[in-house]
Subunit: 288 residues, 2 copies
């Protein structure tokens, strides 16, 4: 099975748990709406690639970890789009959950997806409770506060921002979770995989800044120019477009160099390279 | 240590994880604000009482379970109070989190508290991963959809409501989690403890309906008459005040009869009896 089909199948199995009877029908429908069709599924792809590079000796555990991570990511998008945050109308080219359903259902969809992520890990744990519990620990650390995406979003309510903590929590956290959970799902230690995740996260942040500055809303599938509008820190403002592109390439080179020794090291390096190509903006760059 | 101090101490240890550096200061402060000072801490009290009745052979696991359950309960209060749900100004006699901080911080506080609950269980799991993972499974089932408090809240967005699923998910879920997590934390099976939790949940719902109908906002520490205002199903509307009081006593009698055989069965029955007294409204009842 190609990697993308494997991941979609794992995500679909996870959503089915949350929407099973006797779930309230609108919430059940909103759960699926918030998770499908997906974007690039970049976090679970990284997670599964790392697990494969480490031998993937428990595929069920890898699939659960990949699905759990994507559910948390989708939950964060649903809550970030709410009127009190980005107040976004569109996401992935369709109405945001609070517009398609309602604001209460959007809050509940995010909450339910977060919880479902831990449910999926607990169910997979029958195979190996210690490994599953380590996955719970990594995912909770990188989702909550002080190291997770909740803390990252929380920094946007501060006037005096710890920029390093902000960036690592806001964008880095789920990439760190991706590499560490992939390794742990395949029976390896989490710690050596921190750096790869952190570097991919930095690269993603710079790429996102470039896209936000260069693309229009139609191409993005969400409102453009949000960083400038909300006065958020941005690599393009800091380095200019060409500087940001150079920085993106440097970070990804460092990411590849940081890959721990493992059976699938070479193919993992290739995956990071492909991620780099996907990330680098291809739209006409003004002034170039 | 008295039970209440043991529970507060476990909750305090849990909050400290979420507010540790480098957490964004306002979010860290809002986490503590949303959890302290507590109400009756009735769910963790039931959980710990069940664990004690079952021998409490791993007190660290019991404390983690009690804290995790209360964090989820507090998270649900923070989100339920949001403008898009109850739009409540006060909770436990002070401003609700979205008024004291902001709406974005209230959404993030709820999210972070849910995640912190699973983090706490994962950390406690070093002692016994299989037991901790079972706690994760019970808590996620009773928090998310289709059987948890998210689903319960989700039913309030439906026109055609499955009343039995609604009540069990909305109010029963965290009491079922309380009895089952208490048993599992002490190394017992979860299943025999379902009924006690479900019956305490029913009793609590009837008691809450009575309080909502009979008390004013100052006594409640939150807005009164919300059920009538929001046209929610209510035992007082259905049975009248006296009928609801009788029903409350019947349910609690059934709860005591359902307690599984365990070393501390007698003292657990006493705890349920005390809970009953706490729950039964003591305010002057109109027409009596």
């Amino acid at each position: 099975m190609p990697l993308s089909s494997r991941i979609e199948s794992a995500i679909n199995a996870a959503i089915q748990i949350g929407e099973a009877r006797p779930a309230p029908p609108k919430l059940a429908s909103a759960l699926r709406y918030g998770v499908t069709p997906g974007g690039a599924r970049i976090r679970p792809t990284i997670l599964t690639s790392v697990a494969l590079a480490c031998g993937d000796d428990r595929p069920g555990m890898t699939d659960a970890a990949a699905a759990a991570l994507e559910l948390v990511h989708c939950a964060s998008l649903v809550h970030d789009d709410l009127p009190c945050f980005d107040n976004a109308d569109t996401r992935r080219g369709k109405k945001t959950v609070h517009l398609a359903y309602s604001e209460p259902l959007a809050v509940l969809t995010g909450d339910s997806l977060i919880v479902l992520a831990f449910d999926v890990l607990a169910r997979a744990g029958v195979e190996d409770p210690a490994r599953a519990l380590e996955l719970v620990k990594i995912l909770s650390t990188r989702t909550g506060s002080p190291y997770g995406i909740c803390a990252g979003q929380g920094w946007e309510s501060e006037t005096d921002v710890n920029l390093s903590a902000y960036h690592q929590a806001k964008t880095g956290a789920l990439f760190i979770a991706a590499t560490q959970m992939g390794a742990v799902a395949a029976g390896q230690e989490a710690e050596p995989w921190f750096e790869l995740g952190a570097r991919i996260g930095e690269a993603f942040q710079v790429a996102d800044d470039l896209r936000d500055a260069l693309y229009d809303a139609e191409t993005l599938g969400k409102p453009a120019g949000q960083d400038e509008l909300n006065a958020r820190p941005n690599a393009v403002t800091e380095l200019g477009v060409q500087g940001a592109v150079t920085r993106l390439k440097d970070i990804l080179g460092g990411a590849i160099a940081s890959i721990p020794s493992c059976p699938g090291e070479a193919s993992l390096a290739k995956m990071v390279q492909m991620t780099a190509q996907k990330l680098t903006p291809v739209a006409p760059v003004p002034g170039e």
